[in-house]
Subunit: 281 residues, 2 copies
């Protein structure tokens, strides 16, 4: 497995792969890999000849006061996981390699980047689309794999690819969960044992909505209210948002037959967790 | 010469060129080609195996009330010129091909895109960086050629390439002028015979500054004032800006040995013209 620290070196490698007419799938990560990331890597391996995992804690997607400084990291463990999974190349640049002095050009979704998570984290998606654009230009991947866990991010990236004509095809892999249902996240590490219990309310809310939809109760207003009550009555939990939106547009226009995205963001203590599910209206 | 109307078709062509390990230079234009564009094409031909000229009047770089609707156009003449110059491919998509429904992702310079021309045309450079990003992703050029006439645009594009890690190398070609010194521009067509005379004040201001610098007078404040007086006393002319700035950063920090950009924007009647020169401080 190759480990590249510089833009020039991974670009040369990518060029040599494409010269052999082989395809590349990129899995962009911020490291501290868990089973969720591994499922993305496995999807990447099934889709392309070569797999690149990028490991870079991207400062521009964190706002002041967020957890950039304490974001968990364990590079050696990440590299061991990548090697075991048969990853071909890891791109692990430092911040100065990625954000040069006088950096001033950003990629931004001006529409759906501003709602849901974009409301409580106003600069977050701008940071995401900017770093993903950079990684696409550096690695030149034929495919890139993202997790359904970050549902809004996945849709914003798909929009970016369409709008800016990237050739990269976006693949989305399902949410991976712990045995008790908690969606996997590097941020779960921040939770105390008690908070870890409270955090189950996210997945329970998702399952509750799925069950209700299956049994024919699709009264979104009532379901939203029930879910909010349930979260509000859970210790240490504070709702950021609970929203049922159109699964393609993320807007409130939902009609019969549409995909509906139930998306949740909940602070458990000071840790902000998200979860979601796709329902059929 | 090939003429492509769709993204898919020029992308396939570009891929086939690169498969033969040949290089591509792109000349992005809004059509209505003049000697200035031709000089860009010739630079492109000297730099790469294949030359693509894009002809697309990009709506996102025009603000409401600007001249989008009446921007001059003569496609057949443009194609004849391209053919004569040995251009390999013209990319001439329609607006719907480039801006699909629900377009929402933009590329923006948040720093130097906001000054000089960016002040009087606040969304202009966002439109430019967005369309150029799209063209780079579609055509995948090894080189792209821009004119020094649009000095600020050239610097913003160079910043964009550095910041977003495009592989494309940016080449800048000198300003082409009419016999009497007026910088060539598709917009010169808007000028009446009298305005055409008045418009010479732009190039005269540039030449005046060059002469003064050469003779050792580098008092920027005094020169700026002289130039402003001269323009203000010219019939039909209204200053948008006259600025001496650092030729790399476009900021006001100028020290001995620096490149200085004198940039002018002047309304002649309702037509906004620009001109510039690089001086040594």
């Amino acid at each position: 497995m190759r480990v590249f620290k510089t833009i020039g070196s991974i670009r040369d490698w990518s060029f040599s792969i494409h010269k052999e007419l082989k395809s590349i799938a990129l899995v962009p990560t911020m490291g501290y890999l868990h089973e969720g990331h591994i499922s993305l890597v496995r999807k990447a391996k099934m889709s392309a000849d070569k797999v690149v995992v990028s490991i870079f804690v991207n400062p521009t997607q964190f706002a002041a006061g967020e957890d950039l400084e304490r974001y968990p990291s364990d590079l050696q463990r990440d590299l061991d996981i990548c090697k075991k999974e048969g990853v071909d190349a890891v791109f692990n640049p430092d911040k100065k390699e990625i954000y040069k002095r006088n950096f001033q050009t950003y990629v931004e979704n001006e529409h759906i980047g501003q709602i849901l998570c974009g409301k409580s984290r106003p600069t977050h998606f701008k940071g995401v689309t900017t770093i993903v654009s950079k990684l696409f230009n550096i690695v030149d991947p034929d495919f890139a794999v993202f997790g359904q866990k970050d549902a809004q991010q996945a849709i914003i990236i798909k929009n970016m690819v369409r709008d800016l004509n990237f050739k990269t095809k976006i693949l989305i892999e399902a949410i991976m969960r712990e045995k008790d249902g908690l969606a996997m996240s590097s941020r779960n590490k921040y939770l105390s044992a008690k908070q870890r219990q409270s955090a189950l309310v996210l997945n329970e809310s998702v399952k509750y909505a799925e069950q209700q939809f299956q049994s024919g109760n699709k009264d979104i207003v009532a379901l939203k209210s029930k879910i909010e009550q349930r979260i509000n009555s859970t210790k240490d939990c504070r709702i950021d948002y609970v929203e049922f939106v159109n699964g393609d547009s993320l807007q409130n226009n939902i009609k019969k037959g549409d995909k509906v995205l139930l998306a949740l963001a909940v602070f458990v203590g000071t840790t902000r967790l998200i979860d979601n599910t796709i329902l059929k209206y």
